[in-house]
Every structure is written in structure tokens, then in C-alpha cells.
Symmetry: C2
Amino acid sequence: MESYSIGVDLGGTNLRIAAYSHQAGLFDHVSMPTRLDAGRDAVVSDICQAIRHLLDRYSPNKSLAGIGIGSPGPIELPEGRLGHLPNFPGWDGFELRAAVGRTLGKPVIVEHDANLAALAECKLGKGKGLGLDSLCMLTLGTGVGGGIVVSGGIWDGMNGMAGEAGHITIWPDGHACGCGSHGCLEQYASAPAIRRMVKEAIAERGAPGLAAMEKVHPNFSSEDVFEIATAGDPDAMRIFEIVGRALGIGVGTLINTLNLPLYVLGGGLAKAWDLFSPSLFAELHHRSYVYRLTGGQVDEHGHKAATTHVEPAALGSDAGILGACLLPFTQAREA
Amino acid sequence: MESYSIGVDLGGTNLRIAAYSHQAGLFDHVSMPTRLDAGRDAVVSDICQAIRHLLDRYSPNKSLAGIGIGSPGPIELPEGRLGHLPNFPGWDGFELRAAVGRTLGKPVIVEHDANLAALAECKLGKGKGLGLDSLCMLTLGTGVGGGIVVSGGIWDGMNGMAGEAGHITIWPDGHACGCGSHGCLEQYASAPAIRRMVKEAIAERGAPGLAAMEKVHPNFSSEDVFEIATAGDPDAMRIFEIVGRALGIGVGTLINTLNLPLYVLGGGLAKAWDLFSPSLFAELHHRSYVYRLTGGQVDEHGHKAATTHVEPAALGSDAGILGACLLPFTQAREA
């Protein structure tokens, strides 16, 4: 009997649930709004109802490998106990794993959503493409999430908080971060950071192209900034140059610390790769002698060291739900 | 038959070689100057001769588990191929593992010396004391070395360059580093960094206590600065406060990235713990929400998360040679 898994991606906006089987080419997924206004129990009920529906559909012909759930962090693992999530009022300290497991009477694994995106990118995306089973992935979106996969397994650290690379300090006296620190990577390489930097640029130096955009679209998105940067607006381009610098400093620190073969940048902002990657690679060359030593070049002794790859993600917005589906088939690596 | 190992610590100044058996309480060690002036072959010959001497002494009654050699980095693993070591002229690209192994006709394992100090601190020092088998150790000396141990094994990364935490960027526009970057941790938390900061303090603001010290001891050491800071000189104290700030930013980044249970600071400078630790912990609280969440406190739900420990090392200058002796008994973890 073929085995399959069920994956859940619990997002602040959308709740996605899927049945998955690599062997069978199965990826049956639904998406619904996450009813945060209706409260925690309503959302858990939505999750369990959708899972039951998939169990009814597939368990007669396939064996269930397990149920994987991805959640925003901070989250303690393996318990699946949520910390303080600003967008999830009333969820502090909630034991998500136990609640869903108890309701369904089935074992459930919970993971940090950024770790699941990294797992999917490793098994089905750039990792697969390059034949590598270890990577660090940064997801650039509303925040900057991070996940580390080592030898095919998620590296959770001691209680699930490994890979919080969005909160690496880039400029110690930089912008205040929601985490309580200043100058975190997230303050320079996320969608809200781009909006803030646009406002700063307009206030500080006029930035006529950005000012015109803001006038037409007062609620402009990072996508709008991407478009006018692509069209050649110098102030918009400069913002993506800062994004690249911050990412280069952050990825340089990750390379010097982790010495993994692959670093992947995903999430909505990664589509601006062509705009930010020149300054990213300039910083990497400056910041990381490990990167320079593993850049894939042959040295004066005719020797070529193992190569460090830094690449845009291959998977799009399905990475999180695919990772949740892969989770029951993989082993976590704890510190 | 009891088993024993032979460890070698190849330093820029001293070469240390030991026979070790935990079971037998054996730690038979010699130290000699590293004859770098006499060239690479002379040093390798010294290493092999001292190893043969120990083999002759112990192999009749004990079985050899293996030979471990610690070397300064950069070094590619598992080949044990040296990169460019500024203090080792003529050693670039040298295959240390193969050279010693061929001469002795025995298998040899080579590791980065900072990783071996971390291994010893884990198995015989603070890790053992706290009952933890994973840690990250920073060795504060002429440079800042770093090593990561996960579940009792050294975490080498893809080719032995993991844990280069001395080259985490702290202040992106800070002092130039020998690695080619600017503002690396090593530029604020090593013995040469302290000497430089003393000269800067004298040049920038007089710093009468430091100026008097420099007048008496033109070749003053970081130890001298430590002494007058301990005696209460405000400019000397301020330098150790900067050391602590840099370490706090760096360790905060490591905690957010690795989520390990223990971070240990060793090396000669670690004796200034009382001087730099207040600013280190102030930065940690500011920089790392993972540290705050794992600080060992009970939260409002009566819940206590796994604890992150940040501690001075328990082992002294024997950490490197002890780690080399432990190496044949442990398994490396590659990325």
C-alpha cells in the first residue's frame, strides 16, 4: 500500500491543508482563510475538519505516514507550544500539537513554518537540483524567516528556535525591531522594511520617483517599489542595494558560522534577486573568507575546495505546505 | 586491553603531544617549540618522532584508538589540507593528514584547533559539568576561534570551516580584519584588539591610566590592561565593556542561529569575564529574543523553556591538546 502524508500550513492569513504522496504524484490541497477573529478553537476545528476530510478520502487506499503542521514562530519543539505571536491573539502558550493530536486521535508533528520551507526547498527545490541535502534558507516576506536543513533533516536546535536568521544583528545601532533588538536583518530585507526605507528616502532626500509612487498609491507595496526599481528609478534601486548589503552581511555571517554548501533566498521579495544580488555578492566577497575559499575556483595549487552556493529559491509559495507534507517522512535533528 | 589515543596540538609557538586514556587516567604530555624557522618537514619530523616515542611506550600494553591532530585554520576537512596560515610560511596547501599518516603508517585525523577546544570543553569541561553534549565555544586569544559540538560530535560543516565565529560581522564599518572584512568579532574581542583599543583610547581622549601603562610597558599585553581595569581605571574598564558588547552581539547572533543549550568563552581573555560579562549579558538581553525566551525563567503560564547557558570555560590552556586526544574517540558531524 502506498503511503501518504497530510500537511497543514497555518498562516496568519491563509490556512492550507494538503494530502501528499511523492510515489503517487499526489498533492491534493485546499486553502481557506485563517479565522483568527473567531478564536483559537474555531481555527483548530477548521484544521481538524479539513484533515478528517482528507483522511476519509485517502486512508482507505493508502497508509498514513503522519500529519505535519507548520506554524509561525516562536514555537517550542518538539512540544509544538506557541510563544507570543503578535497576529494570533489568545494563542500564547497554546499546545498546538497536543490539541490537534487529541482531537484527531493521531500523532502530529509541529514545526516552524520557515523550517518547513527550507525542508521543501532542500528535498524538492534547489537542494534537489544541485544534489545537496544540507542548506540554510531565508524566507523574505512580511518578516525574514530562516531554516536550516542538515543531511536531509531539519535542524531544530535545542527547542525549535534554530535558524532565526531574521534576527541576526546587521547594523547594531540600526532600526528598532519588533523582537526588541535594533538593526536586525528583518529591518532591511522584508516587505515592511522596504516600505519604511521608501518613506525614509522621501523624507531625507526627496526621491522624486518614490514620492510620485506614494502619491498615486499611498498604500504602495514592496511590489510597486520593485517595479519602479526595475524601470530604473535610482532611489528605488538604492533601496534594493541596501537589501542586498544587509543580506550579504547576514549570509556572510551564516557562511562563516555554518559552512553549509547552499544558502537559498525565498519568499515574495526573492523575485527582486536581480536588483539586490549584485550588492549581496559584493558583501559576501568582502565579509566571508570562507565564501571566498569555497567559491568554486581552482587555487594556485590546482586545488578546488568544496563549493558554497548562494541562490534564489526554486519553489514558490507552495514551499511551506510542501514542507509540512514532507515532515512526516523526515527526521528532525536536535541539538 | 585498555585503549588510548595520541593527540597533537600544532600551535604557532608550541607543539604539544600527548598520550591519553580516560579509563586509565593517562595524560602523558610533552611540549616543545614549533620549529617554523626550520621549515615544514622539520616540524612534521618532530611530530612523528614524538608520536613514535609514545607509541613505543604505550602500544605494548594498550590498544591505539587513533591519532588526532589539531591545527590552526583555515584547514579543509576531512583531508586536513592547510589553507593560508600567515604564521606558517611554506605550508599553503600542505596535506598535513596525509604527510603524518604516510610517515607513521597509521590513520590520522586532523581537526581545526578551535573545534578541538570546543570538544574538550564539551566532554571534560562545562558541558560535562552541566550535563550537556552540545555547545558553541569561542576561544579568545591572539584571534577569536570558534567551534561547535552537536550531540557530542564536532560540527565541521561541509569542509571543516564551520564555527568561524571570530569573523561574524559586529560593526560593518568597523576596524579592518586580517580576513579581508571589517568589524569582525576578532577585532574587538582578541588580545591584539585590546592593544589596538588602548592605543585608540590614548590617541582619542588621553586616557591617563592607559597612557601611563604604555609609558612603563611599551610592549604592554592585554594582561596589563586587565590588571589596571581590575584596579578600577575607567578607560581600561571601558575597553572591556566594548569587548563585552561585541561578544554580546556575536553570541546573540549565534544563539538566534544555532539555538544550542551552551555557549562557552575560553582562551586567555576569558579570565576578564568579570569585566566584560555585564555588557555581554546586557547585549544578549537586547539582541536575542531566543535568549530571553530560554533564560531559564518561568513564564506567566507557569512554563519554563529549555535553558540557554552562557559561561566562561572550565578548562584552561590544555583544552586544545585534550580535544586532540578525544578526537579519535568521537565522530565528526558533517553537513
